[in-house]
Subunit: 309 residues, 4 copies
């Protein structure tokens, strides 16, 4: 194992690298770009890296299915951190290129819907072709294969390009959420503004199963933050659910809800509890669902069982 | 305190006394008839009796409100046993009385609806007047105030009467359930076919509160056996709920449900866990709700919290 | 049929009579006291009376089971009005009787718990014996059988007694709710502050059935005002539920909830929609549950079905 | 409008084309390949095509987000048919190429995870590069840029290639579901084995909103077949839900559930009711939820409102 190495979804110059560099410890780690999410996570699984940063969700494009599916299956991994990055593109060109010169543009397929309106307005006649990543697109511009690439402004230096336009994003508040995954160990410490991730498989052909799953959380005042269905691979109509809830696994209300799933669902995979990025203080728990309330109720139950209530 | 004394709703010759005598330990106790349910229960509260047997529910007439309300308020009491008694009336008369001689009949008000059809058929012209108890009615027949009384056949001897008819009951399966209440102590041992009783007060003006209460049990696979609303005395439309559920307070699913109530409701009063009368084996718990399931889920949670899942 | 006759739970001088006299139309009706709730309601069923006023609920003692059960079974009846009466007792004595002279007191069994504290304080040594009604107690005082009776102050004149004390009631806000029942016809007109009553039987041995029943109302924003379980007479543990909800059967949200019960429960008996006594304006419906919302949703559905959405 | 033209996700030789050709009417239509899902659907919106067939879900890869998002936003479209296609790949090569000759392979990014295991076993050293579509990959093999492409066997003829291997698919039961979308009109006729699609937006920051949404269906016995969260584009954590349920919009239980959503959610978009592909007979409705049950309940409600119940 190399505790000094952090893998990330490469190549160099991606938003993932930019996100990784926002983590203080990144300064003292060797940052290793990997060609795909599975490759980055496998580097953690096989000990080549201590952790890997991969995108998990974009506020415009939705869940990153490769990440969701890799975390749900295979050797277990756990999430210890999340990074939230505002996504704005720069239009990178070889030095000297003017807007009127641009006949072809490239970028990651996920970038396209985020710049579609901008393109229609500024480069209505340019031909779009997808590249394997935004950084790859920049490299292809460097090599002369395309005239311009949408990528992070920070990628310009790496590929000897210049940013003709910056801060391009059709949607307000386009953000990508990245997670730092490592091998299973004790979860990140509770901060009071935490997120807990897990994957749950429901019983076959049980129509109310999803409803009961949600009840486990609702009845304990635990808010869900994200829920995504993913196919289990066992045929059309068979899904598991990748879910984030508010709170930490050491919060009683969260722990009891998770135990409820564990008891009633065929399979649950815990993916970690970690601080919510950019949130200083969590929402106070609903009356009756704080740790103190749980402790008081447990005390009362013991007194009842002992005849001292 | 007199551990040798058991109070019961008297006078002598009531169904309550008959029910009490079905308990093996009654043979070694001094059985003391009391004039009312509150008096019987107060005898326990103030130490004059070790326990009191009182009716709590009749399959025809419903809940015995005096018992429900006495258990819900005042110094706490706990239920340790229940007795189920088939209710059939005898028509008791002074020796020599024939059916044609009967112009007036008496009995407890609760008896009347249970013999109404029989009366309409056999004594359509007889005048009914209520007495304070079935046994009291028998006494009044003895004293000559009425011609006949509906009471338990066992009351005949006590009051020097004879049973002109027996096994009178309009409804099939007329049963009364009695409970043996004592001062709070460790609940009766778990048998696997148990009943747990409690009273719960809901938050004011919270329309979904009853629904949430039921959810605490449903989500843990705990069946309700009885639910009765009772006024809290704080004004029209203010109720508490007297509830019996299947299972024992030491069953994890029951304990967790009760803790859920304790956390989210302003007040819960535990009234005891005790063997279901006449039931040998309980219903097996729904998948995912056995004690083993709870223990396995708690183990899993600990492993997750320790990074060993 | 005698549209001019209103039956009520007698005898003369009961709180029921006092409640009946608060109805404007009572002035033009012949008011007929009946010896019991079943007798009063049967008088309506067999056409001897146009309607009957009977107590249905007391804020201290709870539901009046005779009324609940009579309305739930037998030939159908419907509720058209409710009357809410503040209950306060007078201590009625023969003229000249002083407090110190009182050795025996009487009253209806339901009265006793409502004056228990007052008795303990003012007449700790007096012997209580129950009478068939408060008015009957007054008559027995008139006849000299008891020294004092608890009854409504209005009963004094009828029985030639005087009120030694008035406004006696242990509980604050002791109220009794009475209902005016008639043969089934079009419900009372909607006022916007209405109450709808019904009885519903659940499927046997279906643990979540009560939960599903409540869901039908909760999901449509209909608040429950009263819910009482009553034995069905088919054996211990078999209950039906007597329920009042807010709103009128012509309110869409109420109608749809009732249809939900009708579809999924073995039996539902509608008991009427009628103005809430003492309430001028109903609670505004929850967003999405007004008649306008239902109409708009139905229009939208039609447009979808027609391809015009 | 050109009723004779059907657009589809091209280019020629894609699985989408194969799926489209399973529809009988395809034989009499001009089939027009489009470069992307949005382009295909826009061709319908602007009248260039009568309908468009696009993939919506793959049993291994999950939902096709471009399709989900295009149907959820922009000018309304409706689904009239679905096609289910077993997905198996052929390895297409230029005639004469042997397995040992293959150094580079290509295919659509979605194909890769479906052939990953096969590749690892048969071509562990081959380099994978993604192409814009499986058919595009075939074209690039034809042009000599790659040695082999994964595509449908039917694509071989179009591009002058031959299938070295066929029936390649890592997962059992890999299927893709395609939908035929047109401009809004009357939904497809009810068959009794139907699927209804819609998109619903929940109220902001209302934690139980998803639970309430599911309740609308569960309480009426309507099973969900698919549920996918999609970002609304209004910021991280803001989702709408793309849902399929069993049944047809003209089924009362489905219609009432949809009206429930319409009343309580800020926005619902109906996407069509259409026959379930490959299903002859639907699941019989749960007791109490058939059209007959709804009609009977409505009749009962009318009788209650008219005083004839």
């Amino acid at each position: 194992m190399s505790p000094s190495r952090y893998a990330y979804l490469g190549p160099e110059g991606t938003f993932t690298e930019a996100a990784l560099r926002t983590l203080p410890e990144a300064a003292t780690r060797e940052l290793v770009p990997m060609v795909s999410v599975p490759t980055a996570l496998d580097a953690v699984r096989n000990g080549e890296a201590a952790a890997a940063l991969v995108p998990i969700e974009n506020s415009v494009e939705g869940g990153v299915t490769a990440t969701l599916d890799e975390l749900a299956t295979g050797a277990p991994l756990m999430i210890y951190r999340e990074v939230l990055l505002q996504i704005a593109f720069a239009l990178l060109v070889r030095p000297g290129t003017r807007l009127a010169d641009i006949k072809t543009v490239t970028g990651h397929p996920v970038a396209q819907p985020q710049v579609r309106n901008w393109l229609a307005q500024h480069l209505p006649d340019a031909l779009w072709e997808s590249s394997a990543s935004n950084a790859d697109g920049a490299r292809l511009v460097q090599e002369g294969r395309y005239d311009a690439a949408f990528a992070g402004e920070f990628a310009a230096a790496t590929y000897g390009l210049e940013a003709l336009y910056t801060d391009i994003h059709d949607a307000q508040n386009a953000q990508t959420r990245f997670v730092l995954a490592g091998r299973p160990a004790r979860p990140a410490a509770r901060t009071g503004a935490d997120r807990t991730s897990f994957v749950v498989w429901l019983r076959d052909n049980h129509p109310g199963a999803l409803l009961e799953l949600l009840q486990e959380f609702a009845s304990r005042g635990v808010n869900l933050m994200r829920i995504e269905s993913r196919p289990t691979g066992e045929g059309m109509g068979q899904y598991c659910f990748s879910i984030d809830c508010e709170g930490h696994i050491t919060d009683r209300r969260v722990g009891e809800a998770l135990m409820g799933l564990k008891r009633t669902c065929p399979k649950v995979r815990f993916l970690g509890s970690y601080p919510q990025a950019g949130v200083d203080a969590g929402v106070p728990p609903r009356p009756g669902t704080s740790d103190d309330d749980f402790v008081a109720a447990a005390d009362w139950l013991t007194r009842c069982q002992d005849g001292r209530a």
